[in-house]
Amino acid sequence: MLPFFADLVIRTDEARRAFETNPVVLDAVANGMPIERYRKLLLELYHVVWHFNPVCAAAASRIEDSHRQIRYHLYEHMQEESGHEEWVMNDLEAVGVQRSDTLAHTASPFTLALNGYNYWAADRRHPCSVLGMLYALEVIASVYGGPFASAIKESLLLEGEQGISFIGSHATMDALHMAELRKVLDTVRDKAARDAVVESVLMNFHHFTCMFETV
């Protein structure tokens, strides 16, 4: 039997490529984006980051003891991600968005759909689907985050990590997370859980791409 991580890579590779080759994403990774669009993107990302830990908590509380290794993985991950919405807020401040404006921002329908799906999947589809959210977001951060951060820095003439601390640091951090995530994914053996993870990856790539397009 193929290890689940390998199976997941194969079953979701077209969705990853669809994200990567979306014209808006292509252009952003190659050339960066104007400051107004970057602000909008960070505002949307704020909502994704803010709901990340609650989604993980919802899933962790529903995961059966037979998958306790996933629950522990989520505990550790939540610990690491705690407070990262502050990084997004700092980046937003660096590009001219006040904290009050960030907190008052209403997420786009696609971001609501992304978060909404992840809560629903953890609650109703299968709690292991949360691993699909982790996989998609970590692929986006660790594979595309670095080049995107460089492109933003060049196009907006930002200095140091100012304005890109969230994206830049996650590109590095999530590289380490990927290796840990692979190990935990390989422990998932039952079909229902595997199918739920695959569906979640496809949905997260889809909604994330749409969110990217709207900014």
Partner: protein, 325 residues
């Protein structure tokens, strides 16, 4: 009960996303046009489609006598491996999946290598850039046609890797050890003319003349197809390439890929980003990025005195050319 399709309907009737098939009944020629848009590379899905075509040809022995491959993406034949997938798997420390990717590539190469046993002659037309795995995929074809503006090379060494899916075997067979050494260890890019001089390309034609060249090759081979295939099979005996040794190299490639550092991966990402720029319509792409990387390497070579072929100095393609222009 569904009856499996056979013959031409089986071959031509499948829905494909990343390739287009054309059939010439007069020459019994199957043409595959690859269109992995917007970044033309060997993605897992594209390779699965190619493997399907190869299996259909094998399952319908005697139907296809000529296999022809071209690209439908303007300016690019193939960028080779899916660099983003490599970065993903290396960062995930997933040796098994990366090995599986490499082995799937080798399976495609092996089919090309054993095509004479299936009664199939193979021809490829390269119009545009072909890098790394893209060039490796061209090497096993019996007839390699390049349009004059096409450029190719094995840039892997620039990010501390090497081409692992047949480059050594097929370059040595066609051009000898010295050329293989030079091309693989330098990471340089070569013009069609330079590759022709090194015997890696059989025919260089002016831009826009590639289609006519394919037709000419097919028509010249057709009347003596059996003899040609027998000779090509004999060539295999004379200069054997085994599946096992191809696998040995790809396994070594996988293990080496796992040792890439963050700096190496960032270089790989730089190339991937350049590919993306070109796909987005920019004038400059991966080839120009490699030339910039070559420049860095060239400074080291200037100190060591290893500057490549003297008559190519100043051509604008070698590292020296880039330095002097």
């Amino acid at each position: 009960m569904t009856v499996p399709l056979q013959g031409l309907p089986a071959l031509m009737g499948r829905p494909y996303k990343y390739i287009r098939l054309e059939w010439s009944s007069e020459l019994a020629a199957l043409r595959v046009r690859t269109c992995v848009k917007p970044i033309q590379c060997y993605s897992l899905a594209a390779m699965a489609e190619l493997q399907r075509v190869f299996s259909d040809i094998s399952d319908n022995e005697g139907l296809v006598k000529h296999f022809v491959m071209t690209s439908d993406v303007a300016g690019v034949f193939n960028f080779g491996g899916d660099l983003s997938l490599f970065v993903l798997l290396i960062r995930a420390r997933d040796l098994d999946s990366l090995r599986m990717y490499g082995r799937r590539c080798v399976d495609l190469v092996w089919w090309m290598e054993t095509a004479p046993l299936r009664g199939v002659h193979t021809t490829v037309l390269v119009q545009g850039d072909t890098l790394g795995g893209g060039l490796e995929s061209v090497m096993p074809f019996h007839k390699v046609i390049f349009e004059r503006s096409a450029q190719a090379g094995f840039p892997e060494v620039l990010f501390n890797l090497f081409p692992g899916m047949g480059a050594w075997h097929f370059t040595i067979r066609k051009a000898g050890f010295t050329v293989a050494n030079e091309m693989i260890l330098s990471g340089r890019l070569y013009t069609a003319e330079q590759l022709y001089r090194r015997s890696l390309v059989d025919l260089v034609v002016d831009d826009g003349e590639g289609e006519a060249a394919i037709e000419q090759v097919l028509r010249s081979v057709s009347p003596r197809l059996r003899g040609t295939l027998a000779a090509l099979q004999a060539r295999r005996f004379a200069t054997p390439i085994t599946y096992e040794s191809l696998m040995q190299v790809v396994d070594h490639w996988t293990e080496t890929a796992m040792t890439l550092t963050d700096r190496d991966l960032r270089l790989m990402e730089r190339l991937a980003r350049a590919q993306v720029r070109k796909a987005g319509g920019a004038d400059e792409g991966a080839v120009e990025e490699i030339k910039r990387l070559e420049l860095d390497t060239a400074w080291g070579e200037e100190r060591s005195g290893n500057t490549g072929w003297g008559d190519e100095i100043g051509t604008g393609v070698t590292a020296w050319g880039a330095l002097q222009n």
